[in-house]
Amino acid sequence: MALEMTTDTESAMNTMISARPAVSAEGETLKMRGRNVKVFYGDKQALHGVDLDIRKNQVTSLIGPSGCGKSTFLRCLNRMNDTIDICRVQGDILLDNDDVYDPHIDVVELRARVGMVFQKPNPFPKSIFENVAYGPRIHGLAQGKADLENIVASSLQRAGLFEEVKDRLDEPGTGLSGGQQQRLCIARAIAVSPEVILMDEPCSALDPIATARVEELMDELRQNYTIVIVTHSMQQAARVSQRTAFFHLGNLVEEGLTNDIFTNPNDQRTQDYITGRFG
């Protein structure tokens, strides 16, 4: 009872002093907050009112069986669902204190703040350099050529790809191996200096070594960025994330510290899923 009151007071205060970042009960900053998020594809409802917080500088995993709505939720966070004509989103999603679905918000600016890495590596049919320079160019982030080259180099460095490609930045990005392509896509996302990076099963098309490389990278990246990852691999969720959210049939079943979810889940469905009884 006392706890509920604290949360209520806090959210009331947040509304009043919108400049102050929201914090969790443990005092961690909440980078993004989903409140009662419902998503419909035509007549079919894909998400039934999800409340989920994303904590700053942590990796949050979304797990669950296929079709449970985890990717749908992820794509709500930077409004990638807008590209699907029949998709409707209800409820509130806040980035810091901005409502992501506010009609006045600029989607372009939002996606520059909340970047995305996709399931299948999708480098543009351009050179490695141009792939990374794409975002800075369209947002006008670089002052001159030298600055752009700096941004590209540092992004590739942070994505752990620079050493492998520094001598062939002019070669097409599509010529890299699958794991390198995915790191190129991560570098491309980093280049626009986002605050949050969304990753939709980023390793499902990669071999184990490339997967390990990308997982290491996620751990390094969380120093500077907030990361949300959708994954089908529970080992991966356990390895890379600090918090885990379990989705089932369009509902958020439970969310908590990764350790707790995997060793001591509250809900029977979570227990069944992580022990491989369904999904």
Partner: protein, 462 residues
């Protein structure tokens, strides 16, 4: 006669097919699993053996027989046909055939009656021989096939190989027809170039072949080599094609972008077929649209600005031709733009690019090879187009790049050279073949270029 035999052979084919199945089941003792192939293949095997050799013979006979008969009649009645010219000989044979086999006889005389007798006796022999041979082939095929049908016999392989041979034959027909057309173009052009030097034709700037002979009847065959310069025609063709592409490329490409990336599904479902209907309008309709609607409009508009516009102008023909080729550009470009994977669009959108930035910087570069080849196909189409320019561009071989003047094109000149009564050995007529060859070379070069562009940039995205 031919069709009767063909129908009978079809009957043989069907019967042998049915019997072959039956026979296969019989030799297998009704054990389906004992057979190497399904029973239908044994039916096909027997049907092919029984009908195909006979059918081949029938066709060969139909092609060879008339010439053979002609030769035999001529050698049998050499004293009658001696001294006849080629045309007279043809008329003679035609009448003799008509007397012998029935038909309209122009006029008959004793010589033709005699030749007709030879024709009819030879015809009877030929018919008898043909029938006997066909029957023998059918019977032989049936006998051999019936004997060889056995459970271990690989009927499926035989049928598949025969089908493959038929497919090869069909594609060979298309290829050899093309080769034949090209060869005929080349040989007729060579005859032309024997009279007119190649360089005078390719580099000459004066075109008026209708006055090929200086004065009526003067020194037949002595063509004036100065008046077969193809350059004005090429300039006219290029001018009109350029105008057409200037219309079709932006309109077609932008409508393709709208259709593939902006239009909602219902709009696209209606707009795309409607746009493609443009391609279904007969070119002759475009032609009179250009000549009767667009040309006077341009003329009136030009006069109101104080410009002199001829009533047949390159601009009118080019504009309408551009409209005609819009569907080529838009439909093909729409296909290639749609083929760019959605993942690339998502990747760009995920970086905060707007829809137009995504199209300009990611989709169009990825689709470029396809778009180029669509444009080049449209250009070849415009270069070869005839009806619109015949009606709207004029006949005067002006060498000008002013779109408001009348120009003429290669295709228009081919039409005017070959319309009406022609003798097929004058330079004037042969010039049409040379022009055709020139046109063929240009479009061929464009097509090869387009193929190379596509090949070079293909699979940039996977």
């Amino acid at each position: 006669m031919f069709w009767t035999y063909a129908a009978l052979l079809l009957l043989v084919f069907v019967t042998a097919n049915v019997y072959g199945r039956f026979r296969a089941m019989q030799v297998a003792g009704n054990q389906l699993s004992a057979l190497h192939s399904r029973p239908g293949y044994y039916g096909g095997y027997l049907a092919i053996l029984a009908a195909l050799p006979a059918f081949t013979l029938l066709i060969a006979w139909e092609i060879v027989e008339p010439r053979l008969l002609d030769t035999m009649v001529i050698s049998a009645k050499a004293e009658i046909v001696a001294g006849l010219s080629k045309a007279e000989l043809q008329a003679f044979l035609r009448d003799a055939r008509a007397i012998a086999f029935g038909g309209i006889v122009a006029f008959s005389d004793a010589g033709k009656e005699q030749a007709a007798e030879v024709f009819s006796s030879l015809g009877q022999t030929s018919l008898f021989l043909k029938t006997t041979l066909i029957l023998a082939l059918v019977a032989g095929g049936m006998w051999y096939g019936n004997r060889t049908i056995a459970p271990a016999m690989r009927a499926r392989h035989f049928v598949e190989r025969t089908v493959m041979a038929l497919l090869i034959l069909c594609s060979a027909v298309a290829i050899f027809t093309t080769i034949g057309i090209v060869l005929s173009l080349v040989f007729e052009s060579l005859m032309f170039f024997r009279q007119i030097p190649v360089l005078d034709f390719v580099l000459g700037t004066h075109w008026s072949p209708q006055s090929a002979f200086e004065g009526a009847g003067a020194e037949q065959g002595e063509a004036n080599t100065e008046i077969f310069g193809a350059i004005p025609l090429l300039v006219g063709t290029m001018l009109i094609t350029a105008i057409a592409i200037l219309v079709a490329a932006p309109v077609g490409l932008l409508s393709a972008i709208y259709l593939s990336d902006y239009a909602s599904t219902p709009v696209r479902a209606i707009a795309k077929p409607v746009l493609e209907i443009l391609a279904g309008i007969p070119t002759v309709v475009y032609g009179f649209f250009a000549a009767l609607t667009v040309a006077p409009f341009i003329r009136g508009w030009g006069e109101s600005l104080g410009l002199s516009v001829s009533s047949e102008s390159a601009l009118a023909a080019g504009l309408v031709m551009g409209i005609m080729i819009i569907p080529f550009v838009s439909s093909l470009s729409d296909d290639v733009i749609n083929a760019v994977p959605q993942s690339l669009r998502d990747g760009s959108a995920g970086l905060g690019a707007t829809r137009s930035e995504t199209i300009r910087r990611v989709v169009l570069p990825a689709a470029l090879p396809g778009i180029v080849s669509a444009l080049i196909l449209a250009i070849s189409r415009a270069i070869g187009e005839t009806m619109i320019v015949v009606m709207a561009a004029g006949l005067a071989a002006n060498m000008t790049v002013n779109p408001l003047e009348a120009v003429t094109t290669v295709t228009v000149q081919i039409v005017t050279l070959l319309v009406g009564d022609q003798e097929f050995d004058s330079a004037k007529t042969l010039a049409a073949f040379a022009l055709g060859l020139l046109l063929f070379c240009i479009t061929l070069a464009l097509n090869i270029f387009a193929l190379r562009v596509v090949k070079k940039y293909r699979e940039q995205y996977d």
